[in-house]
């Protein structure tokens, strides 16, 4: 499938007619962002969004309430993303983290393993407020990109696709404790990056 192909005229008309007042552009934007966070590739993200929208439009008779439409389309999208991720798992195995990786965040703590003064976590306020800001999402995406591939995949399965840890272990062949370490590491990277690139900047604005 041509990754950059927009919806065809008939698909587009159907979508607009169906979505009515709801902005298809905004929905597509949110879907693309969600897919790109996980697939880390614009073309692959365009593909799954296209497939999900086409599948949703084909079955649109089943949905009358616009309030549930976004949730429903996203559930289709999640399945497309899982399929796409699964294709990659066989070629890109997830290696257990070594003890060395654990020391990456040592600089945040002093010798007694308490927070260094300048690294004390700040109160970030209301997440809903940040989520309404498109600029926040641009920074969020940059921060997700900072994660190593395998770490980002495990994090995506847990936080974006809603897998339980036991399911992740089974899917990618790692132990629970290794999975917890990987997820912790992912959250540490994301937290530190948002602190520096979003909340730090916000305070200085």
């Amino acid at each position: 499938m041509n990754p950059s192909r927009p919806l065809s005229d008939s698909q587009g008309d159907a979508a607009h007619a169906f979505l009515d007042g709801v902005a298809l552009t905004a929905l597509r934007r949110d879907m693309l962002r969600f897919a790109q966070l996980q697939l880390r590739n614009r073309d692959a993200a365009e593909d799954v969004v296209q497939e999900a929208l086409a599948a949703a439009l084909a079955a649109r008779d089943r949905f009358e309430q616009r309030a549930t439409f976004k949730t429903w389309v996203f559930s289709i999208l999640k399945n497309k993303i899982i399929d796409s991720l699964r294709d990659g798992w066989h070629t890109r195995r997830i290696e257990p983290l070594s003890a060395e990786d654990e020391h990456d965040f040592d600089g945040l703590f002093n010798a007694k393993e308490r927070w260094q003064k300048q690294e004390l976590p700040a109160n970030w306020g209301d997440p809903e407020r940040a989520a309404e800001n498109q600029q926040f999402w641009a920074v969020f995406e940059i921060c997700i990109q900072r994660m190593p591939d395998a770490t980002a995949r495990v994090f995506a399965m847990r936080e974006f696709l809603g897998f339980e840890v036991a399911e992740i272990c089974k899917e990618v062949g790692i132990t629970s404790s290794n999975c917890w370490v990987i997820l912790h590491r992912a959250r540490m990277i994301l937290r530190l990056c948002l602190q520096q690139r979003w909340f730090g900047e916000e305070n200085s604005r």
Binding site: V73, K112, L120, L161, W180, R191
Partner: protein, 58 residues
Amino acid sequence: MMSCKKATHLLSQQLDRPLDAAERVALRFHLMMCTGCTNFSKNMSFLRTVCARAGGKS
């Protein structure tokens, strides 16, 4: 008292598994004394909320 580093591990893990009673007590005690980890805990909830929002939940 539990170290901040250990507390961050538990604060992350409690998003992925139920903590046992001893862990919960030690963590609660630590959070009472530590503003940094209290904010870290809120940061973790923040991350979970925005990740859910990215996934189309409104």
